[in-house]
């Protein structure tokens, strides 16, 4: 779709609520995104093994390629050439898809992007190996940047950033499990988890693109700050939307968070706004295994009474503003305009 890209928001997102369409503002961007999609489709297609089948199944048809887009736009925002960083953009999607493949095992999700998940189609054991292969492929793709003109010292700097962001992603996933396990309503722990789980890969993509393209230190830092705030805005808006999206549009009440016992920002804010009885009601709704629709209705009543949904939405807005502010350190360019657009779109989805 030249002139527009539709982007999905966060790891794990598949529903319509995770998508948004923002103008790319240029044919060049659309062409680049098309290239990334084609290369991803080719990457494992020729390998007729079980591993090849699994990786191709996971990568194709591709999602909205938001992390590759962030990487490419960041490279251009620092004055670099998108073709130089193209392999790394492909790698960013491999890394993201790897996390989805493993997430689907952990969450026992059978569907991904409208078709059977890797774990459902090939079994959890095989899916573990497929996810691992895609993590390695992220780094294989990064190494390919030496054939497109990136400087070796920049590739090594990007390697450092990407590896550390990958570890942060794991820290976030593990912290999420801890929070769920001990039913922890601590706000700081939640915000740290979002920063690690969702924002880390955004940050890795932006910093990687900027580094490979030869960006100056202050530009790399600015794009990292932008991405971290963007990631938090996205995730929190996603949290909010799980309570505000019209169930008629979604086709059904969204009860997945309830069923998974996942703590969202609105729930955490409502908890701290509630009296002891309210807190107990929230806890019961989450640990209960009764009808999720009934539990959701109870929770909605508390969320509305405490104003927690609005309070959470305001935090998403603030993160979006902070993301946009961070871009001020960069010289004006169409890419910076588009990055700014993403930060706005992050909190405008489905409203």
């Amino acid at each position: 779709m030249p002139g527009h890209v539709t982007i999905d928001a966060v790891a794990g997102g598949t529903g319509p609520r995770d998508q948004l369409s923002v103008p790319t503002g240029s044919m060049q961007s659309a062409v680049l995104v098309g290239k990334v999609g084609e290369r991803l489709a080719d990457r494992w297609q020729a390998e007729s093994s079980l591993l090849g089948s699994m990786c191709a199944h996971a990568l194709v048809p591709s999602g909205k390629l938001f992390r590759p887009i962030l990487l490419l736009e960041s490279a251009m925002a620092v004055g670099g050439d998108a073709d130089v960083v193209l392999p790394a953009a492909i790698g960013a999607e491999c890394g993201h898809v790897a996390s989805l493949v493993h997430d689907d095992i952990i969450d026992n999700d059978d569907l991904r992007r409208g078709k059977p998940s890797v774990q459902y189609k090939f079994g959890a054991d095989n899916a573990i190996v497929a996810g691992d292969a895609l993590i390695f492929d992220l780094f294989a793709a990064l190494a390919e940047c030496r054939t497109t003109g990136a400087q070796p010292d920049r590739i090594v700097a990007a390697l450092d950033v990407v590896a550390r962001c990958g570890i942060d992603l794991c820290r976030g996933q593990s912290l999420e499990a801890e929070i769920r396990e001990r039913m922890d309503f601590d706000l700081d722990a939640y915000l740290t988890m979002v920063k690690l789980k969702t924002a880390a890969l955004f940050k890795g993509a932006c910093e990687c693109g900027a580094l490979l393209a030869g960006g100056e230190d202050h530009m790399v830092r600015a794009l990292g700050e932008y991405a971290e705030n963007l990631g938090c805005a996205f995730q929190i808006h996603d949290d909010v939307m799980s309570y505000t999206v019209d169930t008629d549009v979604m086709g059904k009440s969204d009860t997945s968070d309830i069923r998974n016992g996942r703590l969202t920002l609105p729930v955490i804010l409502a908890y701290w706004e509630s009296d002891p009885d309210g807190r107990q009601a929230i806890t019961e709704v989450l640990v209960d295994d009764g009808d999720p629709i009934v539990r959701r209705d109870t929770l909605m009543e508390i969320l509305e009474r405490t104003g927690a949904i609005t309070a959470a939405a305001q935090r998403a807005v603030q993160y979006s503003r902070d993301a946009i502010d961070a871009l001020r350190a960069l010289p004006p360019s169409p890419s910076v305009d588009r990055l700014r657009g993403f930060a706005q779109a992050a909190i405008d989805r489905d409203r």
Copy 2:
């Protein structure tokens, strides 16, 4: 233990049969191995999170550090400085341990290195994330070589090699599942699987060390060839030992391969040496779910009758010789002597 290192053979090996002790021939090697162990112990110890606990549990106490040793000796064999490649050696162990953590989920193994496996202690879902973090940490460690004096273009070349070897490892794991699933006695498929699953990380370690240390192309290739043959010798000798090691020494009959339906080289060779009745007997033993001791005894009788154990052992000897031959391309040095010793020790274990 200065002057000696005890090395474990293959991914998945925990029993006494997987260990061998070869003279290091120098204090320097022993000191280096000690350094790797210390750094590994420090690496995740300070992180009090669930992820930190899991990674520290998996890495400490360390195994025999054979992949780090291969990497360090390869660097010295091409005339390089071991301290320059030390972070990569640490990374090699992180990558190896990552594969063990995920293998233990796949094989549902509760014990690893004499203590509870990560999946047993922390659950499979958390163990997936821990393994992922250790893969990322392999690459974070590789990037650290820029602080020890490695050239950026060499780090990028090593990145390429390590990422591709990691993908090969996954290909091997996935192929092993395919072979088991369709009960495939194809010899070529088995040998390909061994080359990918066991030899790939050996190859990655040796080539990575040689590349980072500034080795010439022909030296890097020679060490890669050495490592690939070494890995095959190790794995096949391991296969053979599962039928030849004294059960009194092991404390029990080794029936894990039988229970897991795993095809080993002796079984495959016996299959092709057998008449239709013998082939059916082999197949039945593997798919049967009766007493593993009885099944093992039946299988042993067939293996002995067909001479398959001896034939498999001869192949291991040939791989060991090929590994030693590959070292001829390198200038004589104490490191080359030690690498040669590893190839000999690979087929001399527990005889």
